[in-house]
């Protein structure tokens, strides 16, 4: 069967089921890689739901599985040596089981991705215009004139000056920020309803980062498009997402509407991520608060809570029993911790660790002079 016919068949089924359910519903998705040492579980039973036009922020360190998750949802991972389990429903249709040729109808038109590094995600030997019109020809059956007009309009909408000239240029003639705008234009070309932005600004300067994030937000609003914004910086998603999912070792460890997450953070890992961002308000030379150590080995993760070896709150129970993802008092707020931040039991656990001189606890509060003084006082008393 030719991919073209296949695509049209799937299109028909999509339009029939349109508006039938939520835009994206991921249930217990697990993705593992077969390695010589064993199965590396990069995504471990992750469930997320995304409504139309909303933004979900996925936050975590390198190696927490956030990029694999977004690729796995889109079906972009190789089929060999990858085990993908359970369900991904897009517009009510199960897409986890579809073949690559069937997925082609979704890529570009229904869901698209903006990658981290604009230097490597563009083809260096094709003109920018050609790279944008490619998907227009393929998916929307546009002729040459229509496609180049659309490409021009797209370049203008992503804020590229002298758009006519840029169409005829190669990627190396453009700056990093411009290239990322081109990547965004390509992703938006066929009007997807779901955009994955995988660390879209990590390779860029702060000033350009602000421009690109504003552009994504503005395009999203204009097109009523849903977005999954993947980043390691909580500052990036703070003002730009409706909901945030924090990932650690392939699991979602905390998930909440953005404001709730920042106001009532429960997971020690989220707190650590937030505290390690250098803040302008702090006087210079203030000690940075850190999360010691590094993420666990995904082939043989520790039993119990995966974050326990690095956690300032960890007690014996944490090293043995894995906490479930439970709902907090606020609806829609889930966390995975036995001694959550901001509760009496969490506070008790932290103070116990500090008194016992547990290194990660001491390091975690190193910049917090008030807390250190308080604990020292208690210890001497």
């Amino acid at each position: 069967m030719s991919p073209l016919r296949n695509r049209k068949d799937v299109k028909r089924t999509i339009s029939a089921k349109r508006e039938a359910g939520r835009l994206l519903e991921v249930t217990d998705l697990s993705t593992s890689f077969k390695t010589p040492r064993g199965l590396a579980v990069a995504v471990n039973k992750v469930s997320i739901v995304l409504e139309r036009g909303k933004t979900l922020g996925i936050v975590g360190e390198s190696g927490s599985g956030k990029s694999v998750l977004s690729r796995s949802i889109m079906g972009l991972l190789p089929k060999q040596n990858v085990v993908r389990e359970r369900s991904v429903r897009f517009e009510g249709q199960e897409i986890a089981t579809l073949s690559n040729s069937a997925m082609r109808a979704f890529w570009g038109t229904e869901m698209a991705m903006v990658f981290q590094d604009p230097m490597t995600s563009l083809n260096p030997v094709l003109k920018v215009g050609r790279q944008i019109t490619e998907s227009l020809h393929y998916h929307l059956d546009m002729d040459k004139k229509q496609a180049s007009d659309t490409a021009l309009a797209l370049l203008k909408s992503v804020g590229i000056p002298e758009a006519e000239r840029r169409l005829e240029e190669y990627p190396h003639q453009l700056s990093g920020g411009m290239r990322q705008r081109i990547v965004i234009a390509i992703a938006l070309a066929c009007g997807p309803r779901l955009l994955f932005a995988d660390e879209p600004t990590t390779a860029l300067d702060v000033t350009v980062q602000a421009q690109i994030l504003n552009l994504l937000q503005q395009q999203q609003r204009e097109r009523d498009m849903a977005m999954v914004l993947v980043t390691h910086d909580l500052g990036v998603v703070a003002g730009r997402s409706d909901e945030i999912a924090v990932m650690y070792a392939g699991q979602i460890v905390e998930r909440a509407p953005t404001r709730t997450l920042f106001a009532q953070m429960r997971m020690p890992y989220t707190e650590g991520l937030l505290k390690s961002i250098p803040k302008l308000e702090q006087p210079s030379h203030s000690r940075m608060q850190i999360i010691g150590g590094r993420p666990p080995d995904l082939v043989s993760p520790p039993p119990g809570c995966k974050f326990a070896p690095r956690c300032p709150y960890a007690q014996e129970k944490c090293h043995v029993d894995e906490p479930p993802l439970i709902e907090a008092e606020t609806p829609g707020h889930y966390y995975k911790c036995w001694y959550p931040v901001g509760t009496a039991s969490g506070k008790e656990a932290l103070e116990k660790n500090l008194a016992a001189g547990v290194t990660q606890a001491v390091a975690a509060v190193a910049g917090d002079a008030a807390l250190v003084a308080k604990v020292e006082e208690e210890v001497t008393a």
């Binding site: 300067d205 910086d233 390690s276 250098p278």
Partner: protein, 352 residues
């Protein structure tokens, strides 16, 4: 963005490293030149950290490399401990090198993937033939311990077996092993995650205390620079915009560009208002033909005719301590700079 002024320079006998009127130009063919750095002057006191901040392409890395004489600057002086590095030839310059070290942005690509970590860190000692073999082992073990790596894994492992943050620790160890006076850190944390970034910043701060280092810290993120620096120089397109202490710079930015850089930093607070319009629009103009007068005028919200004609000089900010700005219309009042009689205007200097 002028910054050809020297009002912010401190007396020569107080400073360890002194860059005077540094110019770096690269030929770009067809008689054109890339004006990477156009006459900047900065100085660093002993055990002080100077932060150099600006966007990609503003010449901050070139400045760092020119201090190391890699490549040699087109003109200007680089005084280290009273000796002008630009005048030193081959062997004399080589003798100075152990005292100045560089740490690069990408830790993984700046380490030789085929060598074991312990050999990488030990190599500078061997090149300089320092001490006996046993003494070298001891130094390497001590430095690796100081940066938080254990000797056993360093003895057997190669760089790809370490994470990005650990590779940056290896780079820091390699820079420290010769006990340099000055370390130039060229975006040492830009390629790292926020959590690892915090670890490396703490480590640099510890090493500075332990080894009595003088640092030049280059980065594009003002929040990072502010945290480590004693004095910050803001650069734009090869010129200086503003020089001030970190807390002064943050609380009272005088240059519109500094203010724009500050507003671009994402705030981890969902209720913070989005400063969309005030964030910087457009891109850096081409360094092949920089704008006349103030180089920032093409993107500046306060630019007027005068900015195109005259290049502003660095001048002290009134009511500010150790705070200098190069702007005709600063956000806070600055003292008038006395233009020397007969001094050529900058337009004619740069009018290629």
């Amino acid at each position: 963005m002028a910054g050809t002024g020297t009002a912010h320079m401190r007396p020569a006998d107080e400073t360890l490293l002194r860059v005077e009127d540094l110019v770096v130009e690269f030929p770009a063919g067809r008689r054109m030149k890339v004006h990477a750095v156009s006459g900047i002057s900065v100085d660093v006191r002993e055990k002080e950290t100077l932060g150099l901040v600006g966007e990609s392409g503003c010449g901050k890395s070139t400045t760092g490399r020119a201090i190391m004489q890699l490549p040699r600057p087109t003109s200007g002086r680089v005084l280290f401990d009273g000796r002008d590095l630009t005048q030193l030839g081959g062997n004399d310059l080589r003798q100075m090198r152990p005292q100045l070290q560089l740490i690069f942005q990408d830790p993984i690509s700046s380490l030789n993937p085929r060598r074991r970590v312990v050999d990488i860190v030990r190599e500078p000692l061997e090149v300089w033939n320092r001490g006996t073999s046993a003494a070298r082992d001891e130094t390497v073990a001590e430095v690796l311990d100081a940066v938080g790596l254990d000797m056993d894994s360093a003895r057997t492992k190669r760089p790809h077996q370490f994470s990005g943050g650990q590779c940056q620790r290896i780079c820091i160890a390699r820079a420290l092993v010769l006990e340099p006076k000055v370390i130039i850190c060229d975006e040492p944390v830009s390629a790292l995650d926020v959590s690892v970034q915090a670890q490396i910043l703490n480590l640099l701060e510890d090493m500075k205390q332990r080894y009595g280092l003088t640092l030049v810290f280059i980065a594009h993120d003002l929040a990072v620079v502010k945290n480590v620096s004693d004095r910050i120089a803001v650069m734009y397109l090869g010129k200086l915009c503003e020089v001030a202490g970190p807390d002064e710079l943050y609380t009272r930015p005088a240059h519109p560009y500094t203010a724009a850089l500050l507003s671009a930093i994402p705030v981890p607070d969902p209720s913070a208002t989005m400063k969309t319009p005030s964030s910087l629009q457009g891109e850096l103009p081409s360094p092949l033909a920089p704008p006349s007068g103030c180089r920032f005028r093409t993107r500046c919200p306060r630019a007027e005719d005068r900015c195109a004609r005259e290049e502003p000089q660095l001048r002290p900010v009134l009511s500010g301590e150790d705070h200098y700005v190069a702007c005709h219309f600063p956000l806070i009042e600055a003292a008038e700079v006395a233009t020397p009689v007969g001094a050529p205007t900058d337009v004619s200097i740069n009018g290629h």
